[in-house]
Symmetry: C2
Subunit: 207 residues, 2 copies
């Protein structure tokens, strides 16, 4: 009776440096039936990133071909690079009852919400802009001008945070991960996802 | 920054024997800032019930006086007895940012939803009607005719379960309690309850 009869799509956004990858990395080993959609991107890989885990790093020509063939669910051009969600895997996972997490920018999230009105959207908040800036400096992968640019983008993204279903504050990592786990567990109890249980309770009595 | 700026009202319903008191008893020691509203009732106390904990047991004249004085938030007449929610405590707790749980019947829950549109409603499902009947027999406080009557009422209540935000299956107690905890934790991250955090993130950077 515990089976999830239908999948659940979760959209995760947050400024660069808010800790999306770290939170998702922890979550993956803690939640059953979870699939993390890996986005395609044409941007350069950062030193700590693993191809096929953080992103699938592809060339511009490859990405544009996928786009022409409608194999990209949503895409955005951010900071001069393409980021896109491959369509096939997401729909297959949902049909198999999985919980699928898409890590996407705010524009992509808006598009996914219109395509999948039942999706759950989560925005990861840094404790402050100062903390965000410090995290970007600690990465040592971007120069000062690039960080200043990312900070401006972050402010723009924060203005869209109010459009999300949930806000998770990523101050203490363990706490943020527990918050995210609770959201997934709670959303699985939503009546719209398990209304079938009511008739099962009534039916089982008559067996 | 973790402070809950406004309280949260949770309505819990479920058939007699679904385990509402047991689940709430466990929850009370596990969740911060939780207040359980104790209903007034004119029905007879069952042997295991504690006055002021499970219900506040009062006489019919006392209840009707409270009703006249508009000190009852909602009430229902169920199985020949009054059940009502005292108004003052609920509003005080909410103003102080507490999470307040009301254990009420389906008619009362509908009334609370119209009075407090932001409330979170949870329905506790027994694993089956058969299991429910066995739990009522195990109580040894009601005779067979009374149990048969409660089972008919239970079927009517289950027909309203679809109107609730969440369905928790109370098959394994620990699992049901963890589900409820997750719902409370998740609801506290809802954007509508913590939108103030967005401006705090932006503001803190400028200190």
């Amino acid at each position: 009776m515990r089976m999830n009869r239908q999948g659940m799509l979760i959209v995760l956004s947050g400024p660069s440096g808010s800790g999306k990858d770290t939170v998702l990395g922890e979550l993956a080993s803690l939640v059953d039936d979870l699939e993390l959609s890996v986005s395609l991107t044409t941007r350069k890989r950062r030193p700590w990133e693993i191809d096929g885990t953080h992103y699938t790093f592809v060339g511009r020509a490859f990405f544009e071909e996928k786009l022409c063939n409608e194999e990209i669910l949503e895409y955005t051009c951010y900071n001069g690079n393409y980021y896109g969600t491959p369509k096939n895997a997401v729909d297959d996972w949902l049909a198999r009852g999985k919980t699928v997490i898409l890590k996407i920018e705010v524009e992509g999230a808006a598009r996914i919400r219109s395509l999948y009105p039942d999706c759950v959207s989560v925005f990861l908040l840094p404790p402050s802009l100062e903390a965000l800036s410090q995290r970007l400096f600690a990465r040592e992968s971007e120069d000062e001008a690039e960080i200043a640019r990312r900070m401006e983008i972050a402010k723009g993204e924060l203005a869209h945070a109010k459009d999300y279903d949930y806000l998770i504050l990523n101050d203490v990592l363990d706490y943020a991960v527990s918050d995210f786990r609770a959201i997934i567990r709670a959303e699985r109890q939503k009546t719209c996802r398990r209304e079938y249980m009511i008739s099962e309770v009534l039916y089982h009595a008559e067996c």
